[in-house]
């Protein structure tokens, strides 16, 4: 099949539909394999009151709130045991795996530290948004357009999520939480239909899984309540949603963001969002996304490019789109004379209201932040949803552990579910519930629908939209990659040196943590190779039967989660592996 581009389009005129979908080559992974009962002898298990999985804004807000509740109610605190609250995180240290824009609505963090002004003042920020501009880019020009209501950021704070959460982790520890970094949550412990904790990942295994000299088995960490706050594409979250039948009305979908931090000689005095170039507008490409440029004080700039993972062109590469974006005269002028100091990539949960889990709890289990699907993509906001849901989850967990309550009871957490859905979190998500899906109709139709949805607070258009999983996108080939700039090491960079800039120095000889089908059509293999910002996938030898072998370099992985969206499955590598973000 060939289609013809409209004249004047910057891309070659030939479009080849490859007619294959990554979804047809599912990974060798089943959620059931990571759901298990405890295996350690009872006296060897680590017992905690509340266990939080993930040291991002949701998990840390939850830990901080639990610390406050424990202080206020010593009687219940005593029931939580010797280790009342523990938080595990797979990163080298708190913040190592955190990446976001980020402009944060301060509402939730103010609420979290209500009555504690010193703690609130200590939150590291780059100040309030000083002003903003939204631009529509064409190849040559940048047209300033009035900001849509969803992109008005007056009063919001510019932050680095990695820096902010390092601070929140300190506050959580001050409040009594045991923070355990370098600890991957490998399996969800379920006993008689009730979540009873997690099993941490083994360390010191070789390529084939064989124990090496420094082998250290994981441990069962059992808890009265387990809170999954794993962020995007969470390992145990995915398994728990399957196991308890909690997947939302629509399949979850994601966007992929690639970010850089630059040190620049001249300050940027406002935040900038762009739409349009280098993405293509016609609906058939399904290229939804845009960029941000945020000042981090006078000397640094955070910039990034985000693209929806339901795209079709197999040569689409978010990393290379960011590099291409930087060559626009508008962006070049901002970065002129500067130097890149950090790089990273991460997916963003984008299914919104329709893809939210059917319930945000199960016996013994609570979901918070992105694990609960709480991202408002239209407003580009997720951090304050994470903090607010983490706080509410802490209160729900604490209530359920009071005398006479039982966190393992069916419906024990219905109150939490209702608080999230009926509070401002749910209300704003509901308003924009169809916005992301509308953009599958292309940039202009989607843009028009989005405006209508905003004005009508989601009442118009009256119909509910549906979406497919990202991996179901039928692939296209349009020679897109020929437009990516060759890396010059000054303005534009290749993937490998970028992985280096992420601080990643993962041990090479550990078992593969990325699960994919290794024999796939060349189109699927090429799509993965282009998609991955960290050069994990490589197209190998032709097998002679129409498929190729996919080669993996898992130690490059920065655990962005894109492979989970696009037909594979990310599982956590050995704790402490992966990027070591500090500024992102």
């Amino acid at each position: 099949m060939t289609e013809t581009e409209p004249t004047g389009a910057p891309f070659p005129h030939q479009v080849f539909a490859a007619d294959v979908r990554a979804a047809d080559y599912p990974p060798p992974f089943s959620s059931a394999e990571v759901i298990a009962g405890p295996t350690d002898a009872p006296d060897e298990r680590i017992e905690v009151g509340v266990l939080i999985v993930g040291g991002g804004p949701a998990g840390l807000a939850c830990a901080i709130r639990l610390g406050q509740l424990i202080e206020e109610d010593p009687a219940t605190a005593e029931r939580l045991g010797e280790v009342p609250v523990a938080l595990v995180d797979k990163g080298k240290q708190p913040g190592s795996h955190l990446l976001s824009g980020a402009v944060m609505n301060p509402r939730a963090v103010r609420r979290l530290f209500r009555g504690r002004p010193e703690q609130l003042e200590g939150v590291p920020t780059y100040g309030e948004v000083p002003g903003e501009g939204v631009y529509l880019l064409t190849r040559k020009r940048a047209l300033r357009i009035p900001p849509p209501p969803t992109l008005r950021n007056h009063g919001n704070w510019i932050i680095s999520i990695s820096q902010m959460c390092r601070y929140l982790a300190e506050q959580a520890e001050v409040g009594g939480t045991f923070v355990l970094p370098e600890t991957a949550a490998d399996r969800l412990l379920v006993d008689h239909g009730r979540v009873v904790g997690i099993r941490s990942g083994d360390k010191g295994r070789g390529k084939e899984g064989e124990p090496l000299g420094n082998f250290e088995p994981g441990s069962d960490i059992v808890a009265g309540v387990t809170i999954l706050a794993e962020g995007t594409a969470g390992h145990l979250t995915g398994a728990a949603l399957d196991h308890f039948g909690l997947n939302g009305r629509e399949p979850q979908i994601w966007e992929l963001g690639v970010k850089e931090v630059w040190r620049v000689p001249k300050p940027l005095r406002r935040i900038v969002h762009t739409m349009g170039w280098p993405l293509r507008k016609p609906a058939r490409y399904r290229e939804f996304g845009g960029s941000w440029l945020y000042p981090m004080g006078d000397e640094m700039i955070s910039l990034g490019f985000v693209v929806g993972l339901d795209y079709r062109d197999l040569e689409l590469s978010a990393h290379d789109l960011l590099q291409e974006f930087k060559t626009h005269s508008f962006v070049r002028a901002i970065l002129d004379g500067g130097e890149r100091v950090a790089w990273g990539a991460k997916t963003i949960t984008s299914g919104g209201w329709h893809a939210m889990p059917r319930s945000l709890g199960a016996p013994g289990l609570l979901l918070a932040g992105e694990s609960a699907g709480l991202v408002d993509l239209a407003r580009l906001k997720g951090v304050h949803y994470a903090i607010e849901s983490g706080r509410l989850a802490a209160e729900a967990a604490f209530r359920s552990l009071q005398r006479g309550e039982n966190p393992g009871r069916i419906g024990a957490f219905d109150g939490y579910d209702a608080e999230v859905r009926n509070g401002y979190l749910g209300k704003s998500l509901r308003e924009v519930r169809n916005m992301r899906q509308a953009f599958e109709k292309g940039f202009f139709v989607g843009g028009g629908l989005a405006s209508a949805m905003t004005v009508s607070k989601g009442k118009f258009p009256p119909k509910e939209f549906h979406n497919e999983p990202d991996a179901a996108a039928p692939l296209l080939r349009t020679d897109r990659a020929s437009r990516y700039p060759a890396p010059d090491g000054v303005l534009t960079f290749d993937k490998l040196s970028s992985v280096f800039a992420s601080g990643n120095r993962t041990r090479d000889d550990q078992p593969d943590h990325v699960r994919i089908e290794r024999k796939v059509p060349r189109d699927v293999a090429e799509m993965w190779a282009w998609m991955c910002p960290a050069q994990v996938y490589e197209v190998g030898e032709d097998d002679g039967d129409g498929t190729v072998e996919v080669k993996l370099t898992p130690s490059n992985c920065v655990q962005c989660g894109a492979i989970t969206a696009r037909g594979g499955r990310l599982t956590p590598p050995e704790g402490g592996s992966g990027p070591e973000y500090t500024l992102t």
Binding site: G489, L496, S497, V499, F500, A501, G503, R505, T506, R507, D508, D509, K551, T553, S555, T582
Partner: protein, 319 residues
């Protein structure tokens, strides 16, 4: 300022890295002494004299036969007490890292690790330490004495000065818990030729060799030059060459006098493991390969032709 250098030895031979740290310590000035711990190590201790050590403390006892860290923490504690050393320097190795960490805890002393240089400034010892994946160098200091530093392997070259050392025996009483661990078995990797950390010449192979078989070219050239063969992560991942030979961020750091890179693109992950080499020669068919940006000599060409020819010329010269 008095400085103690831990002289790690294997089979009676002091390690090159430790002698390099000794040379640096001597260059800093002040009282410098070495320390050798083991069983039957008097000759090894004396051999340090040729590298400028005038004083070597010796802890010689059957209890130190096995290369275990914990007894050596006891030994170092006693030597530090006997010598009154203010600085204790280690060349990084698996054993030394354990001892340095243990000693740091024992003496409640500060430890700076992965240091690539030390200097004295205003009477203070200052270390240099790469950070953020070797992209920046930071100065590190100590707030109290003794100061312990673990120096990155290959950071300094030994300097042969001639001379002899005075040996001082130190008696050590081991803590009960220090004898709890035993070595059950020691296995050595079969190695032909020098290890890549010790070699003066390294011939390293990358993807450009084409196949595992292509490493014959590297081996042939290394044999002609009397050097060792190393490999990049990509080819180790592909199973062409053993992990022990991997140079780079997640492999070993090497600093030979001559480093010949065959078919290596020079990604920064590789560069950080070999950038301290004396002379870097790159042979690659891609003129845009990043390795040419930091090689001293480069050949753009087919390594299947260049490498054998080079080996032939070297053999003709040395015959």
């Amino acid at each position: 300022m008095s400085t103690l250098v831990f002289l790690e030895h294997h089979g009676g031979v002091i390690q090159k890295g430790a002698l390099g740290v000794l040379a640096r310590a001597l260059a800093l000035g002040g009282d410098v002494a070495g320390v050798v711990v083991g069983h039957g190590v008097a000759d090894a201790a004396a051999s340090a004299g040729a590298f400028g050590a005038t004083t070597v403390y010796v802890v010689d006892d059957p209890a130190f036969e096995a290369p275990l860290p914990q007894p050596r923490v006891d030994a170092l504690e006693a030597v530090v007490a006997a010598s009154g050393a203010e600085n204790i320097l280690f060349a990084s190795s698996v054993l030394s890292a354990d001892i340095a960490a243990g000693l740091s805890a024992r003496l409640d002393a500060g430890l700076n690790w992965d240091v690539t240089d030390v200097r004295i400034e205003g009477g203070q010892l200052i270390g240099k330490r790469p950070a953020l994946g070797d992209t920046v160098l930071v100065d590190v200091g100590w707030t109290s004495t003794p100061r312990i530093a673990l120096v990155r392997s290959g950071a300094f070259e030994p300097v042969e000065t001639g001379g002899s050392a005075t040996l001082h025996d130190v008696a050590v009483t081991l803590q009960d818990f220090s004898t709890a661990a035993q070595i059950v078995e020691q296995a050595h990797e079969q190695a032909s030729g020098p290890s890549i950390e010790d070699a003066d010449v390294i011939v390293a192979g990358g993807r450009g060799l084409g196949t595992a078989d292509g490493f014959r070219l590297a081996e042939e050239l290394a044999a002609a030059l009397g050097g060792a063969v190393a490999a990049t992560r990509a080819v180790v991942d592909a199973g062409w060459y053993p992990y022990a030979t991997q140079v780079g961020q997640t492999g070993k750091s090497v600093s030979p006098k001559l480093y010949i890179a065959l078919g290596i693109s020079g990604a920064i992950q590789h560069k950080v493991g070999m950038q301290n080499s004396g002379v870097i020669v790159a042979i690659n068919k891609d003129p845009n390969a990043p390795i040419f940006d930091f090689a001293d000599f480069g050949v753009v060409g087919d390594l299947n032709q260049v490498a054998p020819k080079l080996a032939e010329l070297v053999r003709a010269r040395t015959a």
